[in-house]
Symmetry: C2
Subunit: 233 residues, 2 copies
């Protein structure tokens, strides 16, 4: 039985790391004393140790200890034995690259399907979808595949941004990029705005937070999904 929180971002503007999610996480991880943290996405290229310290500090506030997966000699066993798991944001290409290199992607999927509580933010949420093909990140490394966990039946576009009215910039909007994706792929894509998250229990997926989310499907107009409702694709 799956039990996951899949959040658009770790941090909302004007608030500390994970701060907006802490009340939710306190309930969610109620039986968890120590979380296994996966720091592979390395935001800004920081070290695994430094990243783990940031996460430790946040989880201290709800009395949960944190161990970085890099502190274990056998990362696969660390995943299999974890009470709860958190994968933080950063670069999705490097995150997926390391999950393949360390041969832990399938173990991670197994424990999540079996019910180990999981939190993902940003890149850590992208990997919950079927592929990482809707990341916003720069392809700074070449992972062996774009296939990810597939714990939900669609892909995530984290930090979803509406087109900026009056912008003079000619780069593609997020919506255009996802439309291009659907020329080549059938998988639905959920644009999750910063401050939104999904709560997954078994196979029920509920949108949470203060915002609607934008669902993109091939050959259909995108639709806005209401917070508090089940996400059905």
């Amino acid at each position: 039985m799956k039990k996951m929180i899949i959040a658009s971002t770790s941090t909302v503007h004007g608030s500390g790391y994970l701060e907006y999610l802490l009340p939710t996480l306190k309930d969610f991880f109620t039986e968890v004393k120590t979380i296994l943290f996966i720091p592979y996405a390395r935001p800004g290229g920081i070290s695994y140790d430094d990243y783990t310290k940031v996460v430790e500090k946040a989880f201290q506030k709800i009395n949960i200890d944190v161990q970085g997966i890099h502190q274990f000699t056998k990362p696969k066993e660390a995943i299999q034995n974890a009470e709860g798991i958190f994968t933080g944001g950063g670069n999705t290409f490097e995150l997926v690259n390391q999950l393949y290199k360390k041969e832990v992607l399938s173990s991670l999927k197994e424990v999540l399907e079996a019910g180990t509580p999981y939190l993902g933010t940003s890149a850590g949420s992208n990997i919950c979808g079927i592929t990482m093909m809707n990341t916003n990140d720069m392809p700074i490394v070449y992972p062996p595949s774009f296939t990810t966990l597939g714990c939900i039946p669609f892909n995530i576009n984290a930090h979803y941004l509406d087109p900026i009215e009056g912008s003079t910039h000619m780069g593609e909007t997020r919506a255009t990029r996802i439309k291009e994706y659907h020329v080549f792929n059938e998988i639905p894509v959920l644009g999750l705005r910063e401050g939104s998250w999904l709560e997954v229990k078994r196979n029920t997926i509920i949108l949470k937070g203060n915002y609607t989310a934008r669902l993109f499907q091939p050959n259909k107009n995108p639709v806005e999904l209401e917070s508090g409702r089940e996400v059905l694709v």
Copy 2:
């Protein structure tokens, strides 16, 4: 002897397709009667035919005919026989994917090194670098490699954007993404603003257009390069 124009964008705000570049292109392609167009990047997922029509219309204004590479049964020969070549923008992943699938990447490099005049815009400029790892595009397909033409000794970040002051969005800035890139890679990256382009003659690379460009190198502070000056890395 290389002869290339590597432009950040096809279109600047408030102006028609390629319009801002046409005076430059008229001189640049002075001996060219027909251009071979590579439409593989498919902006917004439009068809090769539709994309080629857009390009035809623009080049008509300077009396140059356009043929799409997809109109040839042997794309490699089309490249080898071309008087001039233009690769348009769109999705860099799909562009590189098709260049590999059609086995034309090495032929393209050969003719460019030998002096066939080349215009690239956006994705068509990204492929002039050593790798496509500094594209802003969404990874909507999985190309067999990120290695590109390497006609210049650095990578391109097209549509370069300065951080937006006062933004409340938590997604990474372009500069942060390139900094992350340099944690894993040594290749310098040139951030080309919309309206800027590079003119390559033999191995001399001059920045053109109204803007400075931002050069990122590992373990150094980024620097602004002046228009009209040689780009030395």
